[in-house]
Symmetry: C2
Subunit: 143 residues, 2 copies
């Protein structure tokens, strides 16, 4: 039994399988990006992913990082989180949950959706359908 799965829980083979399951062809660049995202549950901006790719053998360009993260989000492999008007975060935790956003240092912390109870959700405007319900609790350092 493998007890050392904290940092690299997902082998390349498994990643390729996951990508194929979502109908994404597994190019070396996509595998690298998926390896970073799926390494653990985390929130990374495109820029942070780009930085982490620096140490990796397969070179990946900026355009590819943006395209790939967008593709992953579209296929449900990661989730886009909009809490900061200057950048998008990609969340590798795809289970239903919401976020604390620390406005002081820009960090995101998950909280499971069953720790909040939302009743009486208002109906979507006519002609539209609900895509997601996002709850963001903005917090700041206690003075």
């Amino acid at each position: 039994m493998d007890t050392h799965r904290a940092k690299h829980p997902v082998t390349r083979d498994v990643i390729i399988e996951v990508l194929h399951d979502r109908g994404i062809s597994a190019t070396p660049q996509r595998v690298e990006i998926a390896a970073i995202m799926l390494e653990e549950k985390q929130h990374l901006s495109a820029d942070q992913v780009l930085t982490r790719l620096a140490g990796v053998e397969a070179a990946v360009s900026k355009a590819t990082v943006y395209n790939t993260l967008g593709l992953f989000a579209e296929r449900g492999l990661v989730r886009e989180v909009v809490v900061d008007s200057t950048k998008v975060f990609y969340d590798s935790n795809t289970t239903e949950h919401h976020h604390f956003y620390n406005v002081d240092d820009g960090t995101l912390i998950d909280f499971p959706s069953d720790t909040i109870v939302i009743d009486q959700l208002p109906a979507a405007p006519t002609g539209t359908q609900t895509e997601s319900v996002d709850v963001v609790i903005r917090v700041r350092k206690k003075p």
Copy 2:
């Protein structure tokens, strides 16, 4: 009884008073920006405010629009709404409420906070205090 208050409900004198109440000195530029924002309950981006200022006698620069909207938000005259990673909206409705965000056309629609019932709000991470709870229901055109 005045029944024609839809478009210009707030006179300059009233605006100046409102600004002073918040500890904001009333410069001509700030009064113009406040006049636009407080004209009615609405969601405007800095860019939209800048465009509307074009027809106004007092010239207002881009930097001042950004500074002023930031100041207004800080003093609670308007509220920042982050739903789109490319820009910030400023909401002149400061009563407690949440938003539908139409991802197709980028429009925001308010819904009062009492049409949603949130129970069991999780406690803020230690060392932090809750600043706001923002609920965004993302909707898209029904297919």
